[in-house]
């Protein structure tokens, strides 16, 4: 071969090339592109604050997906009580109808989505807590952030324990390798969970600032005290309830909004244009803790479907406001005394169809001037006014997507603190205080003409009317030990010893390898 020398040179170059590249194992080290990794996130000084914001964000979980306090959770609790019916058309959303009738099974996806939503929130909280504990913030900031996170975790466990009974106790993020341990895969007792809740809220009471000393929306000392009082109420620890509610009242940070029907609006005042704290709107003087929503570009700072899911539903001829689910029951509508302003503030009443030749009925004019036509164009007779979000007078999602209406969800109001105080007083043989606080709540509802004695029965009834469709009634009936009596009288298939709690989602039981025990009397 003539060109041998040259060919060996070529070969040599070739081999050199080969090993240069091959020796470069670095070539195979590729970081995720445009994504925030753990190391990068935790080297950011704002990481802890941002992680806590991420925990708050779990309050938005809603729509038909996993949820915390949103659509599926709120509706399932309201329809289970005697406050509301499933609503919409008879065939719409059968799974919600099952809960309305207490024919639900562990396979109902609503339960699974609630389970997943809450544990997703709890995991986010646990991770933030783990990181905060290692952080080098000054003690004050660190403890405030810890307290806010633990407040949310306490809130989530409180809702879970009332919804499902004892649930798995996770107060740290397990390593994937230990995730299958019985410690996490089996249910803790109710008491163990309540212990977590009490410790979390107590940490909040000890470390959170008062309302007004922290931006609206962040957990406050008052919020922790109010929820801790509520927890003790479920444990019949009336001394604690009395102390804690008294502290909230004495803090002077809260009062009742003058007009009940302004509480659930975005802006204060009758026309939503005057900014005074005591006249309603978001974060009003009565607000102790509420889910903060807002208009942003991603339209993801809202609890999806919370408002639209409950909006009046058209049967044709007009562009409706929603799905028409969770409609106030007749029983609720009849429960109000004459002149009780809360009736028309809580319920949108649809006007009856006008017979041929009768005078024109303009239908129902809502507070913002929106007109709902008469019954012939509307599916249901009543709708939830508290979930109404005005497309005229209040912020609209940028895309116009009605599912994403920014509706703040009120999770704790001062009125409830007064009623808890009254109930504690009644239980502690202090009828005068009980009557006095009950009167405050009734006076605001334009019922000052008569004074009801602060008996347990009166307070319980007042709780129903004051907190209608605020996801309290069902738990309250169970707490009061009369869920079966009341709900069966209401025509529901409530079975004692079974329906006080909802079933553990079958999917989750399967995923635990059967280690998650089902609640009594549900299919095993």
């Amino acid at each position: 071969m003539k060109q041998k020398h040259m060919n060996f040179a070529t070969l040599l170059i070739f081999i050199v090339f080969l090993f240069t590249i091959a020796g470069c194992n670095k070539f195979l080290e590729v970081e995720p592109q445009g994504k925030l990794t753990e190391d990068e996130a935790l080297s950011d000084p704002n990481a802890a604050t941002n992680l806590v914001a991420g925990v708050y964000n779990s309050l938005y979980y809603g729509g038909f997906g996993k949820t915390t306090v949103g659509f599926l959770y709120a509706l399932s609790l309201d329809v289970a009580s005697d406050d509301t019916d499933k609503g919409s058309t008879p065939t719409d959303f059968a799974q919600l109808g099952e809960i309305d009738n207490f024919t639900h099974t562990p396979n109902n996806f609503i339960f699974d989505n609630i389970w997943n939503g809450y544990y997703s929130g709890i995991t986010a909280a646990n991770r933030a807590i783990d990181i905060l504990n290692e952080s080098t913030f000054d003690e004050g900031t660190k403890n405030r952030l810890l307290a806010e996170t633990r407040f949310l975790r306490g809130l989530y466990y409180f809702n879970l324990v009332r919804y499902f009974g004892g649930v798995p106790k996770l107060i740290r993020v397990p390593d994937p390798s230990e995730a299958n341990n019985a410690e996490f895969q089996t249910r803790a007792t109710r008491d163990e969970i309540y212990q977590v809740i009490i410790e979390d809220f107590q940490f909040g009471v000890d470390n959170l600032p008062l309302k007004g000393e922290t931006p609206a929306g962040r957990a406050t000392k008052g919020a922790a005290q109010s929820f801790l009082a509520k927890v003790y109420m479920y444990q019949n620890n009336w001394t604690k309830v009395f102390e804690l509610t008294n502290d909230v009242i004495m803090s002077q940070r809260y009062d009742l909004v003058e007009n009940y029907n302004h509480i659930f609006r975005q802006n204060p005042g009758p026309n939503g244009n005057t900014r005074t704290d005591d006249d309603g709107g978001n974060n009003n003087i009565e607000s102790i803790f509420e889910v903060q929503t807002g208009i942003n570009v991603g339209e993801n700072a809202v609890s999806p479907l919370y408002s639209n899911g409950q909006g009046p539903r058209s049967s044709g001829g007009w562009n409706d406001l929603g799905f028409g689910l969770n409609t106030p029951s007749q029983s609720l509508a009849r429960a109000y005394e004459l002149n009780d302003t809360r009736r028309n503030a809580s319920i949108i009443f649809v006007q009856p169809t006008v017979a041929e030749g009768s005078p024109l009925n303009r239908g129902t004019i809502l507070w913002d001037g929106f007109r709902i036509p008469t019954q012939d164009s509307v599916v249901n007779e009543r709708y939830n006014y508290k979930a109404y979000h005005s497309s005229i007078a209040e912020s609209a999602p940028l895309s116009g997507n009605k599912d994403n209406k920014p509706k703040n969800i009120r999770l704790m109001r001062y009125a409830e603190v007064l009623l808890m105080y009254a109930e504690a007083a009644a239980n502690l043989n202090n009828p005068a205080e009980a009557t006095a606080k009950l009167k405050l709540v009734r006076d605001r509802a334009n019922l000052s003409s008569s004074t009801l004695p602060g008996t347990l029965q009166n307070i319980w009834n007042e709780r129903r009317l004051e907190l209608a469709m605020e996801q309290d009634r069902f738990f309250d009936l169970v707490r009061q030990g009369r869920a079966g009596t009341v709900l069966r009288a209401h025509g529901k298939n409530f079975v004692d010893g079974k329906h006080e709690v909802f079933p553990i989602p079958q999917t989750q039981r399967d995923l635990s390898g059967g280690r998650l025990e089902q609640n009594p009397n549900y299919p095993q």
């Binding site: 060919n7 995720p32 996130a41 941002n50 991420g54 708050y56 396979n107 409706d320 995923l511």
Partner: protein
């Protein structure tokens, strides 16, 4: 720069030096045994680099020294060597080869004689691919190769699903690896079928292990055309046709619909849902008529090829138009290919393969099929320019309006190129370095028109309903991907006596980058010329920019050894590193060994003349799969998770994905035993194979308990193992009855038994929820095929109240479906579910035939599968009471008068997941029928044309199936829920005619 000159000068001198030898010019003709001239026969000077090919009339011209030896080779014929001996004119006759298997196959980083191959390799010729009137080469393979299942789609821009020897993985990467002219790629939609010479399909580990990391699901090697030295060849192919839906489901008309719903409602004590007035006032709409169309389709190609001894060229251009079968749907694609070889010196060849494609696709949301399936038939599609308000009547968007009010157009530009240098410094050593790039630009502009459902601009004939779009939106998405692959190999071929060695070693590196830029705006004007982000309002605008990157590098080697053409050995090993796995698991090692015995070459076989081929082969090997998303092992924070504090938005972060920080290679161990046979001088040929594949550590998304807080309760990890076993059998008969009549007939059949043998310690996976309240339908458990249907069994229909009372369904009524209470616990629950089959077919087969009589040619290809089941998800997932029903369900429903035992009574609610919705997915289809006529030479010579053939072709002419849906074939991204029929593009039928012209 100066150095370069010197190198070029040296190269030039060497080159010139070779040419200046004392040569003579030889002219000649090559014919076959019958005296017919043979075009395209390779003619080269033995031991030299000079070579040419015979032209279309079998003539050649070559320069060589007067005492050289010329070598004539032609596929299907015996190679012949002829000494020149100072002759300047030669007539050469070539004898047909006794063995069809003498063909050369592409085996990855090289080629091999088919008779030397120890693995299972199948070849499909380009002309057989080009005959099918389909848009992608993969779809054209359907039915042609045993053990290769191709699931096609009618969607013009779809990438067909290919499964070689069963479903080999659970996550996305179950498709084979595609290698185009040596360059690894994932998507071959840019390749024009007419440009393909051959497709070689590697099925077993002995063949695939050279592609280790990606080979677990088989390899498809595509070779595109190159020019041949000699006369310039110009070819034109044109095909024009019409595409339509092959099969539609007959849905209830307005009258049937109303009677069904009303009966269902009144029998439950309700009011009629559709009043007579509504029925009178409405229309009678067949929504499929409204949304479907017959789509025009054309495919035209022109190519020019040729060259000299120094360089060859192939240049082709193709244009496809396919209007699809849904209104507004459509695809246009234009491709150019340029493949050139440059023989710079006897020891140096440079080559380039370049392909450019430009496509425009108008997408439709396939949910349209679901809408059309559900929409109420008494609502008119459109009256006087106003749309019927279906959302008001039954909560379904008007399908026509959905189509009209969206314009989602994608424009793709793709440039794929390979540049290679082949160096042959010494006779037995060849070095190759090739650099392949694949640049892909895809831009999508999706405009959603604003429309009102009330007021003066109401688009509906009545106001209200849920279908409304208050503001227009424009989404623009710009995707830019680039990939490069650099392969370097050295091959040593040596022969000592009867020992034949070929040794290959190499190194490859690969990198992929993706950059996607997206933006959206509200209120962009509806005029097309305004569809730019800048024309929208700033409020609510979004933008996003994401990326992806991965790298791989590998070392590979292969030894081929043959002793006396009788005993064959192939051993390969490949080491692969990938950035997709964490450092500790990064490298995978994939060995294989194959043995072959050419029995026919044994001395004791010399005297027989029954077998022309008889080869026994066996192989074992391990291959891998890294086809998972890039960042799966990194804990990634979700960012920009907002919350409002004090009215101000704060962007939070959350780690809500639980990653497996220890993911590793998924490996498949394969065993193959095969026999190649040929009888009667190669007229009857075929292969038999047994294969057994075990996939271990299969990557899978497992459902994890909600308590772990993962955002979608999924965890990607190496959890599953499963096997695929089966037999493959293929046979082909070629016969020349007379000079006027030749015919061939062939068939192939393959069985597959897919079985999960271990699943994450026994935790079975649920999937396949068709919607509403049905829950899961598939359950992938130990001992079952992947994606097995797990359903409650139906057992007829309750006829009497007594039957109900005696049953486990106390709440049922006569006319309801009766379910089997498998566990006899007195109620029907999920515990009564049983396994009832899977979508994965147990058998796939193809029967193909062709005949030539004088100037006429005829060919038929067919394809079928057997043993797969389909869950009719469209029917099952119907959760809205007022959705339309299938005509069959309405007509045959149980009534006190018509006591059906299969169709239940009219009902509004959704039924539970049961075998009522499960149907047999077996089918047999005539994929293609083509009749052609080649114009006789007498006419051609006058017109100065080489060849003119006209033909008529029908694609998907007929399908025989028991499935009542749109078609038994559909693609799903996930093996766990395949076989659940939801938004499926119906199979289409194409009638076309075409012309092939050669100049």
């Amino acid at each position: 720069m100066k150095k370069l000159y010197i190198i070029l000068a040296v190269l030039f001198c060497l080159y010139e030096g070779r040419l200046s030898a004392q040569n003579i010019t030889i002219r000649g003709t090559v014919t076959d045994g019958q005296g017919e001239t043979l075009p395209g026969v390779s003619v080269r000077v033995k031991g030299g680099e000079t070579g040419t090919q015979t032209d279309a009339t079998g003539n050649f011209v070559i320069n060589s020294s007067p005492n050289a030896t010329l070598v004539f080779t032609y596929i299907g014929f015996q190679t012949r060597e002829v000494a020149v001996n100072n002759q300047t004119s030669l007539t050469i006759q070539l004898q047909t080869s006794s063995q069809e298997l003498e063909q050369v196959v592409v085996v990855g980083y090289g080629t091999q004689r088919k008779s030397d191959v120890t693995g299972s390799v199948a070849r499909v010729k380009g002309e057989d691919l080009a005959r099918e009137q389909v848009l992608t080469p993969t779809q054209a393979v359907q039915g042609k190769v045993a053990g290769v299942q191709v699931i096609s789609s009618g969607d013009p821009n779809a990438n067909p699903t290919v499964r070689i020897r069963g479903v080999g993985t659970m996550l996305g990467g179950a498709s084979p690896l595609f290698v185009v002219d040596g360059v690894i790629t994932d998507d071959i939609r840019n390749i024009n079928n007419a440009d393909i010479v051959s497709m070689d399909i590697l099925k077993d580990a002995s063949a695939t292990a050279i592609y280790g990391m990606r080979a677990a699901n088989g390899v498809m090697l595509i070779t595109t055309k190159k020019g041949q030295a000699g006369k310039m060849v110009i070819a034109y192919d044109g095909n024009f046709g019409v595409r339509q839906a092959a099969n539609l489901v007959d849905l209830a008309d307005a009258q049937q619909y109303a009677s069904y719903l009303n009966e269902a409602s009144t029998s439950n004590g309700g009011n009629p849902l559709i009043t007579d007035e509504q029925l009178q006032a409405g229309g009678n709409t067949d929504w499929y008529d409204v949304v479907l169309k017959s789509g025009f389709r054309q495919n035209q190609n022109v190519s020019v090829s040729g060259g000299s001894e120094k360089a060859t060229y192939f240049l082709s251009a193709g244009a496809i138009t396919d209007r699809g079968i849904i209104q507004t749907n459509g695809l246009d694609r234009f491709t150019i290919r340029s493949n050139n070889d440059y023989n710079l010196a006897s020891w140096l060849k440079l080559s380039n393969l370049l392909s450019f494609s430009r496509s425009r696709v108008r997408n439709v949301n396939l949910d349209i099929f679901n809408l059309a399936y559900r929409a109420a038939p008494h609502v008119p599609a459109m009256v006087d320019g106003k749309y019927g308000n279906t959302s008001l009547s039954n909560n379904v968007s008007n399908p026509l309006l959905s189509l009209d009010k969206t314009n989602d157009t994608g424009r793709g530009t793709r440039l794929q190129g390979t540049f290679a240098a082949d160096v042959r410094p010494i006779e037995w050593l060849s070095l190759r370095s090739s650099f392949g790039v694949d640049l892909n630009f895809f831009k999508t502009v999706a405009y959603n028109y604003q429309f009102d459902n009330e007021g003066p601009n109401n688009v509906f004939n009545t106001a209200g309903g849920a279908q409304v779009r208050p503001t227009s939106t424009l989404n623009v998405n710009n995707l830019e991907a680039n990939k490069w692959v650099w392969d370097n190999t050295a091959t040593i071929s040596r022969k000592f006596d009867l020992h034949d060695f070929t040794f290959l070693a190499g190194f490859t590196a690969e990198q992929y980058n993706l950059n996607e830029l997206k933006g959206s705006r509200f209120n962009v004007p509806a005029d097309k010329d305004q569809w730019f982000l800048g024309a929208g309002t700033p409020a609510g605008s979004t933008n996003d920019n994401t990326g992806d990157k991965w790298t791989r590098s590998s070392f590979l080697s292969r030894l081929n050894y043959a002793y006396d053409n009788r005993y064959l050995l192939t051993a390969t090993i490949r080491a692969d590193g990938t950035s997709r796995f964490p450092r500790q698991n990064r490298w995978g090692y994939f060995p294989s060994i194959g043995l072959g015995w050419n029995i026919v070459n044994e001395s004791f076989m010399k005297s027989q003349n029954i077998f022309s081929t008889l080869k026994l082969r066996g192989s074992w090997g391990k291959v891998g799969n890294d086809q998972i998303s890039t960042d799966v092992y990194f804990p990634i924070a979700a960012t920009n998770i907002p919350y409002f504090f004090g009215g101000t938005e704060l962007q939070g972060i959350r780690f809500d994905q639980l990653p497996d920080k220890n993911v590793k290679w998924e490996t498949t161990e394969e065993f193959d035993l095969g026999l190649d046979y040929g009888f009667f001088d190669g007229r009857l040929t075929g292969e038999v194979d047994y294969y057994n594949k075990t996939t271990e550590d299969a990557l899978i998304n497992i459902r994890i308990p909600g308590i772990l807080g993962d955002t979608n309760s999924e965890y990607t990890t190496n959890a599953a193992s499963f096997t695929n076993k089966g037999f493959e059998f293929s046979i082909a008969w070629n016969h020349r009855l007379s000079d006027d009549l030749t015919y061939s007939i062939g068939g192939n059949i393959a069985t597959n038994k897919n079985e999960i043998i271990n699943l994450n310690g026994g935790q079975a996976l649920r999937d396949g929820n068709p919607g509403g309240n049905q829950g899961f339908t598939t359950f992938s458990d130990n001992g079952q095929p992947i994606g097995s249907f797990y359903l409650v069994e139906t057992d007829g229909v309750f006829q009497t109240a007594e039957e109900v009372a005696a049953s486990a369904q106390k709440d049922a009524r006569p006319g309801d479906l009766r379910y089997k209470d498998q566990n006899n616990d007195g109620e029907i629950t999920d515990l009564d579910r049983v396994f009832v089959g899977a979508y994965i077919p147990k058998v796939t087969y193809g029967i193909n035939g062709s005949a030539n009589y004088k100037n006429f040619d005829l060919s038929v290809t067919t394809y079928g599968t057997g043993g797969g089941m389909i869950y009719n998800g469209k029917k099952a997932g119907r959760s809205e009471a007022r959705d339309n029903r299938e005509a069959e369900v309405v007509e045959n429903r149980w009534t006190p008068e018509n006591r059906s035992n299969s169709e239940p009574r009219a009902t509004l609610g959704q039924m539970r997941a049961s075998t009522y919705f499960l149907e047999n997915g077996s089918f047999w289809r005539i994929n293609n029928l083509t009749i052609g006529y080649t114009l006789p030479n007498s006419i051609l010579t006058r017109a100065k044309l080489e060849r003119v053939r006209i033909y008529a072709s029908a694609q998907n002419l007929a399908t025989i199936t028991g499935y009542s849906g749109f078609g038994p074939e559909f693609q799903t991204s996930n093996a766990l829920n395949s076989g659940v029929d939801l938004n499926i593009y119906p199979t289409t039928r194409t009638f076309s005619f075409g012309i092939n012209v050669g100049l």
